[in-house]
Symmetry: C2
């Protein structure tokens, strides 16, 4: 659900990505459609927070994925996919509003979060209304595709809720396996990318097998992207990373690095790790450096990069397998390369 | 959204209502369908609160309205309406979970509320998941009716959110007009009754005009019922009312009585009213009695009963106008009579 970190990261370090999206006709379609979407004036506290969160923009990656998923199979289907695309954007923003309450986050994209600017109650209720608005947009999709669209949207939404709950459960657990961690990020952030792409494919009339390949492309891309974010949090360039390097370490956050270390750590280093995790504020200035030393000792960065590459390869393999002409896939390969900082 | 008070009230004071519903084949269909609806075991904190709130039962009036709305036009449509019926029940329970957070309510149907038993975060997220589950059930409805069902469900859901926000806005306002108050209860509690009935009518293939008459019946019935609840809160029999008589007065709640009094009160009584509203705890034992005296002075109970009767008559008139045989309408007239404590 929470890709704000990645957004910030990309906005600084990936000019190619930005150039591509800012010039994209899809980004423009979405921007115009969002402008046209008028919310009622009253009750003010219900609809003003919705206008506010939607105005904080972001790069609208998810709604673009819907349009790209449609275009892959049928350029003519792009226009018919705009409502589904808005539904995905509304859903994403609903999840941001509610996640920010749960995480007690004060800022979102550099601005006060909804619960911070208004109140928890306003954030709960305007989030609810935005989720319903997502379904309202979805209901404008082609009626012959309504049932599969609705089923996919429901399944995805429920999985995002599951991912968020599992992530919160992790906060109070000592041991989280790598498989559990990857399943959590799959649910919390990746299925929405896959679901967005597949919705476009459904509207374009793609067959079930191609739909599933495209869905898998999105999910694996999302996992690779989240793993990369975990790695950059510790090893990113502070000048381009766009947020505090080492933030996850300071927050004792479960990441791919953390769960790998926990799996491999030898008994003699367990006390050091425990001290780092339970240390008081005084130890924090050195906490990042000491954790990096532990990571290095067990070759964790290499192992994490290996995992990122593994999911990247699965994603690319799925995209290659889709039975449409290669040139149709180019924009998705370009997007994936930009997201994953790959030059090829 | 919040009909807990009415539920309690009815459960004590309306044996006829209870007998009817407990023997109802519709109640049994819903109970069995809810039993069959299995929620995943994990994540536990996401799905256990859902099982919990659904187990607190209540009388399942809203889902029964879906089935009754279907049966009015086509007995054969009842079975096809079960999913929509569950969708309405899930939506209602979602709204209870989130309303209870916003109202900081410790109890629901005599048991701890979800946020009280778990936490606000758990209540926010499990409420979200239950709303998505409502759409999941709705998506199982006959696919040729999917678009109108979805549109009605979305419109109704959004209105319920609006009603809740307006109700919260009222808490910080001194003056609320009668029209504003009635519009709030229409949105917050009544449109869901109308929407439930109309969903059944849609599935049964009723024509648009009859659908709208049935919807209006439900909405006006809901308004009359809420007005009655306001009246009973002050003038109900403590032995049968099922909650503290005068509770609305003690909480300075905006009710039909309160807004009427505010409209009619003469300048010389305004100070008395202000003292009652802003009085400290010490004055509370007499607060109910003094407020009753003010109400009596301006003949407020009569005016409120007149309003209740007005909406009741509109409801009955709409039901009479529906173009199906009278005997088909009998169960809805019986339900309305039971809800509104009418013997005829």
């Amino acid at each position: 659900m929470d890709m704000k970190k990645q957004d910030q990261n990309l906005s600084v370090s990936s000019p190619i990505f930005f150039a591509m999206f800012n010039n994209s006709v899809y980004a423009e379609i979405i921007q115009q459609s969002l402008k046209k979407a008028v919310f009622p004036g009253q009750p003010h506290k219900l609809y003003e927070p919705i206008r506010y969160i939607l105005s904080l923009s972001g790069k609208r990656i998810r709604p673009q994925l819907v349009l790209m998923g449609a275009a892959l199979f049928d350029e003519q289907a792009v226009e018919k996919s705009i409502s589904a695309s808005l539904a995905i954007e509304y859903f994403h923003n609903f999840s941001l509003i509610h996640d920010d309450i749960m995480d007690k986050a004060p800022l979102r994209r550099g601005k006060p979060t909804v619960h911070q600017k208004w109140s928890d109650n306003v954030a709960i209720l305007s989030g609810d209304a935005l989720l319903v608005k997502a379904y309202e947009e979805l209901a404008k999709s082609p009626s012959d595709k309504m049932v599969p669209l609705l089923q996919l949207f429901n399944k995805t939404s429920l999985e995002v809720c599951e991912g968020q709950q599992i992530d919160m459960d992790f906060e109070t657990r000592d041991i989280v396996s790598e498989a559990e961690y990857i399943d959590m990020i799959r649910l919390k952030t990746s299925v929405l990318l896959g679901g967005a792409l597949q919705m476009g494919a459904i509207i374009a009339g793609a067959d079930k097998h191609d739909q599933e390949l495209l869905y898998d492309f999105g999910v694996n891309l999302g996992i690779a992207f989240q793993l990369q974010d975990d790695i950059l949090d510790v090893y990113g360039d502070p000048r381009t990373f766009g947020k505090q390097v080492g933030g996850d370490i300071l927050a004792n956050k479960k990441t791919i690095l953390y769960v790998k270390l926990n799996e491999l750590i030898a008994p003699e280093d367990k006390e050091t790790l425990a001290l780092l995790l339970n240390g008081d504020i005084a130890v924090e200035p050195q906490k990042i450096e000491k954790m990096r030393m532990l990571y290095a000792k067990y070759d964790i960065p290499t192992l994490a990069i290996y995992q990122k590459e593994k999911f990247t390869e699965i994603a690319y393999e799925r995209l290659r397998a889709i039975r449409v002409a290669d040139e149709k896939k180019q924009s998705l390969f370009t997007l994936a390369n930009a997201l994953l900082h790959r030059s090829k």
